[in-house]
Amino acid sequence: MLEVTALRKSYGDIVAVDGVSLNAGKGETIGLLGPNGAGKTTTVSMIAGLVRPDSGTVLIDGRPLQGDTDPAKRAIGLVPQDIGLFDEISARENLHLFGALYGMDRANRRRAIDAALDLVGLAERAKDKVAGFSGGMMRRLNLAAALLHDPQLLLLDEPTVGVDPQSRNAIFDNLETLKKRGKTLLYTTHYMEEAERLCDRIVIIDHGKVIADDTLQGLQRLLPVANLLSVELEESKADGLRPEDVQAISGVQSVEILGGTLRIGIRDLAADSPGILRWLVERGYPFQHVVSERASLETVFLTLTGRSLRD
């Protein structure tokens, strides 16, 4: 459905996108993950035909977009990061306008608008001015506006920025529904949990370059540890406890002591954690709280780039 090859775009001396390549098959959901300024939005803009690349190609269904009026643009639905709606008219009027831009007749528009409003849960607010909507409702309508012409490829540029958890969940439910309907989704985010929840494959981008492209499981295999065990010692005391002593315990891959908390990287939670906890008690380091977490995309990103996704 989407083939992006060696896209490059620079603004003066700043290289925003540097040789990005990625593919998305029909019905596939690709996460484009990277920190702010990584080049995600520029990549999406080039795919949508909004920005002319310096070099590289974008193929939609096997052919490049040709000019502003290329009918192939109808295959793309863009959900921009900034709200792309007119505040002073109603939700329905906004959708009528955006439907008309894709040449839909009135009857088709009405059907599509009803369906889109139903999907995003705004049918009852259809006649209200967008200016009176909450941030989350605007985000949902922003999504609905991209669906009217029934595009096969949806480009979602950080569609949940600045929304409350409830609205975010609602948007996620909408996207999962679209995924089930066989739509191809390219989803940019810097929230790893969003990519983990939704995406079949994740492309990590940093400084304009793709640094990883794999499934979540494939990316996690890049990590030296599969789980992180956080052990909060009693009275938060780790006096005399040396990392190299803990490192010597069977199954321990990494050790970090942060105040009274031990962060221990292990490969197998079930096999390795009992021995570690027993060792601590026997050496006089009783603990009051233990939490285990699976190594996340955050960890993957940290491992690959040496910095946090939210830097």
Binding site: T69, F86, E88, E93, A100, L101, R109
Partner: protein, 433 residues
């Protein structure tokens, strides 16, 4: 199927009318200012012009100086009050009087001598004036000249001062540095005046019952405002509503440009660019909606002026509509050009406002262009707003035919095409990132 062009145009028009507060300001502000300017510049033609405040300082107290002051006091263009030198100077300095004239002691006798003998020293009348009212000072000077000539000549031919001046002049005539033939002529004139005065004294002259008169202006002035027809008064509101209409329509043009620059920074622009729309549709629909709203504002302004101030389209209605339409299109294209050349909304707004205000000022929208220096009047013909102003004046109070509107319409339309083409060429189509 709803044409995307129409959909976008309709949306812009709907947004314009949907913002009631902005709409009210867009219409109410030019009406208020145009009403004010219209009143200042003659209004509906029925108001009396204000009289010029003048102070009379008579240090002479002679028959001539009293006659001069009385003549000026009776003039309908002046409001003359007596004063003394220092209070008069202070009043002019404070702007409470426009001019003060000072008739010095001995003026009557000196003026009489100078009247018959050009070689004699001439007395001075000092004019103290407010430098911000130069035009009024010139007017007062002209009126004063007429009254001085009348008062001095009247006294010379009829009054006591005149008799003694004539007698003295005759006695001294041989000492005048003058050609013999001229002396002979002057002697004859003075003796004739002496005879005239003697006849009046003895009551044998035919002028016994006639009032005392001196030299008077040998003509009367009949002024006629040349408007669209005989008896049709000039309506200052026609010009002011045209001028303010032009100014505020150009401001609408700025709004269009800034609006587009701001839209570029939002998701709306990305959504529009992602749709299969040509650049012509995107910018053309914006220009069309802007032209429609501009035309609407102009029509409302002139409708108000018609109902409240009696402004009529005395000339060609088609020409009037043509000028309004061409100017609206030109403004829309001007807005697109602002968007094409501007970098950011913030930086562009200030520059656009200054440019527009200059354009409006030089177009004669605030004050008529005839008050400009000649070189500036010639220079301003390159300003499109001037063509609109001239076209509206021609179709409203001047009452000219369509042919007088044809050139402004052609020039404004050409300008609209040029601005539009330049805007399309220079517009940055790529979104920012």
């Amino acid at each position: 199927m709803l044409n995307p062009f129409l959909a976008l145009t309709r949306k812009d028009v709907k947004l314009f009318f949907g913002n009631r507060r902005a709409l009210l300001v867009t219409i109410a502000a030019p009406i208020a200012i145009a009403s004010f300017f219209g009143y200042l510049f003659g209004g509906g033609g029925s108001t009396e012009p204000s009289r010029i405040a003048v102070l009379a300082v008579d240090q002479d107290g002679s028959a001539i100086s009293r006659e001069i002051a009385a003549g000026l006091t009776a003039d309908k263009n002046l409001e003359v009050k007596p004063s003394t030198l220092e209070p008069a100077r202070e009043a002019v300095r404070k702007g409470k009087a426009v001019v003060a004239f000072v008739i010095p002691k001995g003026f009557g006798a000196d003026a009489g001598r100078a009247f018959f003998n050009g070689g004699a020293s001439k007395p001075e009348i000092a004019l103290l004036y407010d430098p911000s009212h130069g035009a009024e000072m010139s007017m007062v000077q002209g009126i004063l000249t007429g009254h001085v000539m009348e008062a001095v000549s009247k006294e010379m031919f009829n009054g006591q001062t005149g008799r003694s001046v004539v007698k003295d002049t005759l006695a001294q005539l041989d000492r005048f540095d003058m050609a013999p033939e001229q002396k002979k002529g002057l002697r004859g004139l003075l003796e004739g005046v002496q005879g005239w005065n003697a006849a009046q004294e003895t009551g044998t002259g035919s002028a016994q019952e006639a009032p005392r008169v001196g030299l008077t202006l040998p003509y009367q002035v009949r002024s006629e405002a040349v408007t669209s027809g005989t008896g049709v008064k000039y309506n200052g509101y026609a010009h002011s509503f045209g001028g303010m209409g032009i100014q505020f329509i150009l401001f609408l043009g700025i709004d269009i440009g800034i609006g587009l620059l701001m839209q570029r920074q939002t998701g709306v622009w990305k959504r529009l660019r992602a749709a299969p729309l040509s650049r012509g549709v995107l910018l053309g629909s914006r220009a069309t909606s802007a032209a429609i709203t501009s035309m609407f504002v102009l029509m409302v302004l002139f409708a108000f002026a018609r109902v409240v101030f009696g402004v009529r389209i005395q000339g060609s209605v088609a020409g009037f509509l043509g000028v309004c339409a061409a100017f609206s299109l030109m403004t829309a294209a001007w807005g697109l050009l602002i968007a094409a050349l501007g970098k950011t909304p913030e930086a562009t707004r200030g520059l656009s406002i200054v440019t527009t205000l200059f354009m409006v000022m030089l177009a004669g929208a605030w004050v008529p262009t005839f008050v400009f220096p000649a070189w500036l009047q010639k220079l301003t013909v390159v300003i499109p707003a001037r063509w609109a102003m001239d076209g509206l004046d021609a179709m409203t109070w001047r009452g000219l035919g369509f042919s007088a509107a044809a050139l402004p319409i052609a020039l404004l339309s050409g300008c609209a095409l040029a601005f539009g083409a330049l805007a399309v060429l220079r517009f940055r189509w790529d979104v920012d990132g």
